[in-house]
């Protein structure tokens, strides 16, 4: 039996990787979306682990909901990405600084 701390450490590593991916990624908005996905997955991983550990199915059921929302979210994100590319001819993060004051 693999101790629960292993699972939690793994999920924390994935989460940290995804956050770092958002912060440090200067290149591509696609990578940004991927980092977001990864963040969701790490949280889902936590939910499943703890649900199993506590013997409660709610956590595992909740993951399905989250996955649905994430799927919708990434669909919207990709759609925005396409529109953005059509207008800007780029998906480079550094070029997208319209909000700069």
């Amino acid at each position: 039996m693999i101790p629960i701390s292993y699972y939690l450490i793994l999920s924390t590593i994935i989460f940290t990787l995804s956050v770092a991916g958002i912060f440090l990624n200067r290149k591509n908005i696609l990578v940004l979306l991927m980092s977001l996905e990864l963040m969701f997955l790490s949280v889902n991983f936590n939910l499943i682990t703890l649900g199993n550990y506590l013997g409660d199915l709610t956590g595992q059921v909740f993951v399905f909901f989250v996955l649905t929302v994430v799927a919708a979210e990434s669909a919207i994100g990709l759609a925005l990405l396409i529109v953005l590319f059509r207008n800007k001819k780029t998906i480079d993060v550094d070029d997208l600084s319209e909000l700069k004051g």
């Binding site: 958002i22 912060f23 993060v93 004051g101």
Partner: protein, 642 residues
């Protein structure tokens, strides 16, 4: 009687409103409305005067409208009827009527014919508002309206630059006086909680002890009020040092000069002091001040007239000088004599101005008496009328001017005011000189009219409409004094409207005896001697040109410059004001308000926001970093607090 007086008061106002309604209609309608409204006022004032003397009900005061009614005081529009107000209104309306009639012909070629009559009607109304006021607020309103209409009329020829300057000057100088009047009014409200004449006259004895403290100095309230009100009167009645607007007011049309000088403007100050004579009697020191102001004005401004060459300006200076006589009479508590001189002066000065207008029209708007001459043959009626008016002005025995002026001078001498007496005595001489100067230069000597106009046919003189008022005005200018002298002196005429009747009685019994004896006696006085010397001197100097006098240059300059008042008013005051306003403009407007408050605020915000906007990098990872670090911070905080 009250209703009739109300109609009398409102008739010129209704005339004004009707004229405003039909501004663009024909001249005939304008003439009709304006003259009839004044005619109604004139006939009514004669009728009410008759009613008043036949029934003699004493002073009547009635309120009609209420402007404001507070717990402390109430402000009304009302009417005060007594002999003083009625006599004054008769004088005002009669002169105004004649001036209106005269103006029909005088202004007939003017493009703004209708506008002229709107203003004159309004002018008459404003003056009547002062005359019939029964409280100080109404007096003040009338006072301001008179100032406004004189402003409009002096600048009637709006395209003439000098006229615009003159009306500006008149308006501003009157503002200075208005400050005095307004402060006096405030002080009255403050001290007595009422503006009603009757109430103030009733409590006048108890209010004399009150004192008022301004900037730590304590004054007797009544004296302070009277002094402040007199400052208002000084500006309106052109007394030193607020006299310099009056000669410039000659820029208006000549009938207006007649109106301003005889009936509706400059008399307001004298009338107000006479109206408030019961209050002025109780003050100490103020009357002496008034006496000296009056006699200084009479003497020194009479001198200025000697060096003037514009016919209207000479008459204007003579008005200032005659107003000085009235003020001096007020200052010596001889209120009824001041009013008497006001009345006679109204008639002969209106006559003088209308004659001057007739001359000016005949000479095609030439006003310089050096360029006018020899008009006697071509203007016989004007010549005679001018002669009678001049005789009245210099106080030649038996004329109206003689009775009023001689009485003032003699009474001031009789009551022992030596210095004012001497000044007034000497100004008889100057009055004679400048009057004969116009007379001899204009009517004698070489004729200056163009050849084709040298027509001795009397019908060619001027329009009949212009000559008729001259005829009518000659009668009161010469004979009015004789008729009303005795009733005036023994107090029948003004009854109890004016204070200090006993002073007049003592003068009458001790010096005058009756009008005929006064007339005979005058031939033996020094006044008559001075008058004769003046006449002979001016006959030799101006007519025969028997000798010439070299007036020292600096005296001539001083007089031409009006003792520096001219440079004071047209140079010094504007200059000082300019510097002052420029200082204010630079320091207050630009430095403090514009740069200090407005620009500083905006540039501060600008700086702040330009610093703040650096936070908005526009990069998503910066925003998310901030969000997540804030989240982590919050979590840590929660951890610590729990």
């Amino acid at each position: 009687m009250i209703a009739l007086t109300l109609i009398l008061l409102l008739s010129p106002l209704i005339g004004t409103l009707l004229l405003l309604l039909c501004q663009n209609s024909s001249k005939d309608l304008t003439i009709l409305i304006s003259n009839i409204s004044i005619l109604i006022a004139f006939l009514l004032s004669l009728f009410i005067l008759y009613l008043f003397y036949s029934s003699n009900p004493g002073p009547i005061s009635a309120n009609f409208l209420t402007f404001a009614d507070t717990k402390l005081f109430s402000l009304h529009f009302g009417i005060y009827i007594d002999s003083l107000a009625l006599i004054m209104s008769s004088v005002v309306t009669s002169v105004s009527l004649l001036v209106h009639y005269y103006s029909i012909s005088y202004m007939k070629d003017d493009t703004s014919f209708n506008r002229f009559f709107i203003y004159t009607n309004f002018f008459t109304f404003s003056m009547l508002l002062i005359v019939f006021a029964n409280n100080f607020l109404q007096l003040f309103i009338g006072w301001e309206l008179v100032g406004l209409s004189s402003y409009l009329l002096i600048g009637f020829w709006i395209k003439k630059e000098s006229a615009i300057k003159a009306n500006y000057k008149a308006f501003l100088v009157n503002r200075v006086g208005d400050i005095g009047l307004l402060l006096g009014l405030c002080l009255i409200l403050l001290s007595y909680n009422t503006t009603d004449y009757n109430q103030i006259f009733q409590i006048k004895n108890s209010i004399n002890i009150d004192s008022v403290s301004i900037f730590g100095f304590t004054f007797n309230a009544l004296s302070a009020i009277c002094l402040l009100l007199f400052i208002g009167a000084m500006a309106k009645s052109a007394q030193v040092p607020l006299q310099f607007w009056l000669p410039d007011s000659m820029e208006g049309p000549t009938p207006i000069s007649a109106l301003i000088h005889a009936a509706t403007m400059v008399t307001a100050g004298i009338y107000m002091v006479a109206r408030l004579s019961p209050l002025y009697e109780l003050t100490d020191g103020v009357l002496i001040f008034i006496l000296y102001v009056g006699s200084i004005t009479a003497f020194f401004l009479g001198l200025v007239a000697l060096v003037q060459n514009d016919i209207k300006r000479i008459i204007a200076y003579s008005t200032i000088s005659q107003l000085g006589y009235m003020t001096a009479a007020l200052g010596a508590s001889l209120y009824s004599l001041a009013m008497f001189h006001l009345i006679t002066h109204a008639f002969f000065k209106a006559l003088l101005f209308l004659c001057a207008g007739s001359i000016i029209i005949k000479c095609h708007h030439e006003q310089d008496i050096r360029k006018i001459g020899g008009l006697r043959k071509y203007m016989p009626i004007t010549y005679l009328a001018f002669m009678y008016a001049s005789l009245s002005l210099i106080g030649f025995p038996i004329t109206s001017g003689f009775y009023s002026k001689e009485s003032i001078i003699d009474a001031i001498g009789y009551f022992g005011h030596t210095i004012p007496y001497l000044m007034l005595l000497l100004s008889i001489f100057t009055t004679t000189l400048y009057t004969s100067k116009i007379f001899f230069k204009v009517f004698f000597g070489e004729s200056t009219l163009p050849k084709e106009e040298q027509n001795e046919n009397p019908s060619n003189e001027n329009d009949r409409q212009m000559l008729l008022p001259l005829f009518i005005l000659t009668a009161p200018s010469v004979f009015l004094g004789l008729f009303i002298y005795d009733p005036l002196m023994i107090g029948i005429l003004f009854q109890n409207s004016l204070a200090a009747n006993e002073l007049m009685m003592s003068f009458y019994n001790g010096y005058v005896i009756n009008s005929f004896k006064f007339f005979l006696h005058s031939f033996t006085t020094i006044n008559f001697l001075i008058l004769l010397i003046g006449l002979i001197f001016s006959y030799l100097y101006y007519y025969k040109k028997a000798f010439s006098i070299n007036v020292p240059h600096f005296i001539r300059t001083t007089l031409t410059k009006e003792y520096g008042f001219e440079s004071l008013s047209s140079y010094l005051i504007p200059k000082v004001q300019n510097i002052f306003t420029k200082y204010l403009w630079r320091k207050i407007d630009i430095s403090t308000i514009d740069n200090g408050l407005i620009n500083n605020t905006s540039s501060f915000i600008n700086n702040l926001s330009s610093k703040m906007k650096k936070l908005q990098t526009g990069f998503i990872y910066h925003y998310s970093l901030i969000i997540i670090s804030a989240l982590i911070l919050l979590l840590i905080l929660m951890r610590i607090t729990h």
